[in-house]
């Protein structure tokens, strides 16, 4: 098992290097001079040159890349052009907000998907199934910015139940944290939940038709035990994969939801970095998103082996 994890980590490192080259190349291909952007139109030529030098932008591209990737390994992602603060520090600052939102959104998504998908699968072609399919279609089709705005209008504006935006730290004010989290989490969770609902439905339908479910019923087990232990237990194994992808997506920042709710997360920061041509910050963010995807995928694979005893990573070296 340890061997498997090490091998996967090594593979992830290779992928990361590829991602870093790609990110680096794209940054330098997009038009616009980051230094001029950062300094504004009134800067002197001397100040411009000084900043170029300080950022290492006068060096050959290869040297720039090697410098960047070298220090990235030591946790130094450079200094933001716009704020002048270390990129790592800026990213870490944003992590709690993003993790809060992603965790809450995935909970919302699962709370929608598992019951709705299961009920739909138990009564295929019934009104419940129709409702589940239609609402998941709607959930997928409604743009999240529109839904976010509608939620704000209704629950923050008219009813005044929830704040319209902003983030409160969990440690400083747990109640305020939860209160601020509800609407962004619902907005981000509905889309993921809609995708997962369809997945749960087909996965449960498939599990219901398995021979071992018939065996369980033939034993005379209670319906809910058959459903819990033989249908859902098996149906949820493939759900881990799709759920993992959704979680990784949520963790790398749901840009639009963060903007609508003024949520100080990674997505919002990455967008600002793009707008202001803040190379170091953008490179750092994209690299972090790649790390998140790789780690979540690794966790999913490990979880898989826990859930399905037929999968073994021991001796899978060749």
């Amino acid at each position: 098992m340890t061997g498997y994890v090490l091998r996967r980590l090594w593979q992830s490192a290779v992928v990361l290097i590829g991602v870093s080259i790609l990110v680096f190349a794209i940054m330098h291909l997009v038009p616009g001079d980051p230094v001029r952007q950062a300094l504004g139109t009134r800067a002197t030529e001397a100040a411009y040159q000084a900043m170029r030098e300080r950022a290492g932008l006068d060096e050959p591209l290869l040297t720039q890349y090697l410098d960047w990737i070298g220090s990235a390994f030591t946790g130094d992602l450079g200094v933001s052009f716009r704020t002048g603060r270390p990129v790592m520090e800026m990213i870490l600052e944003r992590v709690p907000a993003t993790v809060s939102l992603a965790a809450a959104a995935i909970v919302v998504a699962l709370l929608i998907a598992i019951p709705l998908g299961t009920i739909a699968a138990l009564k295929p072609r019934s009104p419940v199934d129709w409702f589940a399919t239609a609402s998941s279609q709607a959930g997928l089709s409604i743009p999240d910015f529109w839904m976010g705005i509608m939620l704000i209008l209704l629950f923050a504006g008219t009813l005044g139940w929830f704040p319209s935006g902003g983030y409160v730290g969990l440690t400083s004010d747990p109640v305020g944290w939860a209160h601020h989290l509800v609407m962004p989490a619902v907005t981000a969770g509905v889309a993921s939940g809609s995708i997962l609902t369809r997945f749960v439905r087909s996965s449960v339908l498939e599990a219901l038709g398995q021979d071992h479910v018939r065996t369980a019923r033939a034993k005379g087990m209670r319906r809910r035990d058959v459903l819990g232990w033989h249908v859902l237990r098996n149906a949820l194994i493939p759900l881990v994969t799709v759920g993992g992808v959704q979680l990784a997506y949520l963790l790398s920042g749901v840009v639009i939801v963060e903007i609508v709710f003024a949520w100080p997360g990674l997505g919002q920061m990455a967008l600002q970095a793009v707008e202001s041509r803040d190379y170091p910050l953008l490179q750092g963010s994209v690299l972090l998103f790649a790390v998140i995807f790789l780690l979540v995928n690794l966790l999913v694979d490990l979880l898989y082996a826990r859930l399905d005893p037929r999968i073994s990573y021991v001796g899978a070296a060749k």
Partner: protein, 336 residues
């Protein structure tokens, strides 16, 4: 607890099962009647699609309720099974009537341990503490001939061989101490040596518990070895039934005769050239959505008579001299 007085433990009368399909009503079982006696084995024989499995699943209410229409009667131990709701059926499943399915590789849950699946079966009907159930599960595994049962409780199905898995299935089916055991092609997926072991095991257990067994198969070789009474099904009907001796020695229905002709026999006295020619039956069973009007076997029958067989369904009638031997055909072979 065992009912020592004579008489069948399960009586099925005029069982009919139809499925609603997009093409129309598929009539899969069409008036099936039989009795299962304690300690005796009834073999139900037929091709795939003859309705033999569906008829058994219908008894336990294991068919999809939204598309299956079941009628007729099936009285188990004085209790009518047809038309019961899910909760009433649950009490019968496992405890009254146990079932062993064809493919042990798919019939066991791959992600739960053998022990868990056995304990589940034990605790479905009797409230017993977990450790008692585990001890009982170990006993059951030993009873079906699994070596080192304690450590096998922790095994997952994929860690066992096909024969061992089927032994586990049998242990599960016996967990509720059923009075009737339905074995649906229980040895079909196993190789021949393992098949023989499983047959021996089931016959031993049947004797010990005086269980009534319904053995569903298409394998006439197995039937000859274990059955007391045989029922041959075609297109959802019984076309011939009788004691195993009567049926194998004096088959009457052209379908039964065809089936017996299609079974290879090892010590066949005929000359080699003739022996190598396996008799095959041309044609396919009829479409259950469009059953023929007269005898369902008419299109494939080698000895059909034109008008009567096509328009009139032959009733199941006793064969001369043997009240237990009945066949549904207008044809009488020579020498019977």
């Amino acid at each position: 607890m065992r009912d020592e007085q004579g008489g069948p433990v399960l009586s099925v009368r005029d069982l009919r099962v139809a499925f609603r399909t997009p093409r129309g009503l598929a009539r899969v079982v069409n008036g099936l009647s039989y009795d299962v006696e304690p300690g005796r084995t009834l073999a139900i024989v037929g091709e795939s699609g003859s309705g033999k499995s569906v008829g058994a699943l219908a008894l336990l209410g294991l068919l999809p309720g939204d598309v299956a229409r079941i009628s007729g009667s099936a009285v188990f131990d004085g209790y009518e099974l047809i038309g019961r709701d899910e909760e009433e059926m649950r009490a019968v499943r496992g405890a009254g009537v146990g079932m062993v399915f064809q493919d042990p590789a798919t019939s066991l849950n791959p992600v739960l341990t053998v022990g868990r699946q056995l304990v589940e079966a034990l605790r479905a009907h009797a409230s017993m503490p977990k450790d008692v159930a585990r001890a009982r599960a170990e006993e059951l595994l030993a009873e079906v001939g699994i070596p080192d049962p304690r450590s096998r409780l922790e095994a997952y199905p994929h860690q066992l061989s096909g024969g061992m898995r089927q032994r586990v299935m049998i242990a599960i089916a016996l967990a509720g101490q059923p009075r009737v055991l339905i074995a649906d092609e229980a040895t079909t997926a196993l190789d021949v040596t393992v098949q023989a072991q499983i047959l021996d095991l089931l016959m031993r257990l049947q004797k010990e518990h005086s269980t009534g067994v319904i053995w569903i198969t298409h394998d006439l070789g197995v039937v000859a070895g274990i059955a007391d009474h045989v029922l041959v099904m075609y297109a959802g009907r019984c076309v011939e039934e009788g004691s195993v001796d009567a049926l194998f020695e004096r088959p009457v229905h052209p379908y039964t005769r065809g089936l017996l002709g299609a079974t290879p026999v090892v010590d066949d006295p005929r000359p080699a050239r003739e022996r190598d020619l396996l008799v095959t039956m041309p044609g396919l069973p009829p479409d259950p959505v469009e059953l023929p009007e007269g005898c369902a076997f008419y299109p494939r029958c080698p000895v059909r008579a034109d008008v009567r067989c096509r328009t009139e369904e032959p009733p199941l009638a006793s064969v001369a001299g043997d009240p237990g031997h009945r066949a549904a055909t207008f044809y009488t072979p020579e020498g019977v």
